[in-house]
Symmetry: C2
Subunit: 348 residues, 2 copies
DNA sequence: TTGAAAGCGGTACCAA
DNA sequence: TTGGTACCGCTTTCAA
């Protein structure tokens, strides 16, 4: 039990050369059915599992892909995106005998180094690029390193293969929802400008608002955190007369929306009676809070699965086309409702 | 740029044998200072990074350790433990050039298979065993496989190296806190009995309650989820007269405590005026909710770091002693307060 | 101290 | 169709 079964053992038992074992077990042609059968039998008898290390060295592959999570160490802790994203990745990796190497880098610079060393010692065959920033330095890096990569929710002109989930439609649905409820004065809590997805959501919201002939009263920059939502609510609502406040707010992610809700409540505003609030993501937590959070539901799990498929295909030398998964769409729950009556009159 | 720099290149440039390069670069004796200097210089000039694959095959090591997360696919999503735990692991792995391989198995059986295949193809040199169950099948498995492993929060008689964070003290602190606030009738929402940490918390609570001469009114089994907390609150509070209710409740983790809080609120109970509620973990979310959650703060990050250190040492052939990190302790926040006045009178 | 060479466990090419 | 063998890139004896 101490010494492992190698391909040599299998060859010996089947009475063939190791090259035949290799061919047979990898379903390559050039082995007679009879020999193949004997080899498979021998392998099974011996409980042979090819060593990843041997294969790795010879095949010049790591059979692993990498995900580097950056930002604060508590990302995984408070941001449900990665959990679901990783879950999706796993569903694809596992059947194809690949493994996921997860690394965390607190600061952007450190993150780059992680990618660099993953590539340098060839620990991975490719990487995911989630949470893309504007002019993200990881892009030229992987290009320079010749490291296969897949971008997640990238811009249209992204130079690498990417998987995207449309955000525009969901935002339009939400604004239409607001409009139908009589809201005229909307506001937005964005994410940090350096993130592409923050910008995408902002642009889509502004467009939709204009399209419906509504007013974009206020835009406050948040940071995708709960605390950021609290701060944004303070900035947007505190000390303002009802007539001066927006009646419907979109926060760029659910976490900040939930913070926003909490602060709004502390300021004496009832949601959705005095104010409608919506988030973006569709995290589970949004169904926990009261009122439950209206949101634009995304599919990080699917995004992960598709990204993994694209990455493995790319590693296999296939040409991969960008993929658009089903767009995010509105999920109406308890935090949005009709515009306060006072505001109906005040319009126009 | 296309072909990588190997040890052969370095040897050639330094004008020495590859064995000398290996010795020199790994700080092994038997190389003269002068030669060593030349080799280091050459390596640097060429930007040599040893191939993990070559090392791996030759050294019979994967230079990676594995973490298999089981239970529902949404674990990482809603349970902040793993994010912090992984963060802690990383801080130790990275400087020692190890990587973390993360896998997810939804069902326990599947999880076992993951461990099995990780061991079979030698993708990892060791594994973490978090969230131990009673008679956890992973334990005999890793023993049989001869796979180094470290248990997290294991029982005292655990047969493998383990890192633990004391839970008893924190629970005692909490019960003392309850007692000081005048509470006499306590209750507990546990986690599933099959988890060791659920049982540990239950036992500690019962002991502490007895020690203070208080009453353990009610014990309801939860499932460590928000929904479980909601259900537990329903079972414990709904349709009961104030005199029949406990006045202070410990939920076995924060997430369920937060669900408990929400449901209590819906049932018209004010926390902490009508009822005190505490959790266990110290997750960030507990500071978001209103009232903020009194809890017993744990240190998953530290647990991860220590577990990683122990695992790597074990892999290096060192004998590792079990480690106890600073025990979890009480964090008083807003969800606990004085016993309702009606109950003060009713005691005795 | 240095260098040559034998593995580690596979893959893949080439002759037989 | 088979078997032999040269790698893959490093570590580790063992002579020189």
């Amino acid at each position: 039990m101490n010494t492992r079964v190698t391909i040599v053992d299998v060859a010996a038992r089947a009475g063939v050369a190791i090259s035949s074992v290799s061919s047979a077990l990898n379903n390559r042609p050039g082995v007679s059915d009879e020999t193949r059968r004997r080899i498979v039998q021998a392998a099974q008898d011996l409980g042979f599992v090819p060593s990843l290390r041997g294969r790795s060295l010879s095949a010049k592959r790591a059979f692993a892909v990498g995900l580097v999570v950056h930002r604060d160490p508590s990302v995984l802790e408070s941001d449900p995106f990665f959990g679901a994203f990783i879950g999706g990745i796993e569903t694809v990796l596992d059947p194809r005998d690949y493994a996921l190497i997860l690394q965390m880098g607190s600061e952007p610079v450190e993150t780059l180094d992680r990618y660099r060393s993953l590539a340098a010692n060839r620990r991975v065959d490719g990487v995911f690029l989630p949470e893309l920033g504007v002019d993200d330095p990881r892009v030229p890096l992987v290009q320079e390193l010749g490291l296969p990569a897949v971008g997640v929710n990238a811009e249209p002109d992204f130079p690498l293969p990417a998987v995207r989930q449309g955000h525009v439609e969901g935002v339009h649905e939400l604004v239409a929802h607001f409009a139908a409820l009589g809201h005229r004065r909307l506001a937005l809590v964005t994410g940090p400008h350096e993130f592409i997805h923050a910008r995408q959501r902002r642009v889509a919201f502004a467009e939709a608002v204009a399209l419906h002939g509504l007013r974009l009263d206020d835009v406050v920059e948040g940071d995708f955190t709960y605390e950021g939502g609290i701060a944004a609510a303070g900035a947007m609502l505190e000390g303002r007369a009802p007539q001066d406040r927006p009646t419907a707010v979109l926060c760029s992610n659910d976490l900040s929306a939930i913070g926003f809700l909490a602060r709004a409540g502390e300021l004496g505003l009832r949601v959705p009676d005095d104010l409608s609030v919506a988030g973006f993501d569709g995290i589970r937590l949004g169904t926990y809070v009261r009122p439950t959070l209206t949101t634009i539901g995304t599919a990080p799990r699917l995004l992960g699965a598709e990204a993994a498929r694209m990455l493995l295909d790319q590693i296999d030398g296939l040409t991969v086309d960008d993929v658009d998964i089903e767009h995010a769409s509105l999920v109406v729950r308890g935090s949005t409702g009709p515009v306060p009556s006072g505001h109906l009159a005040s319009v126009r």
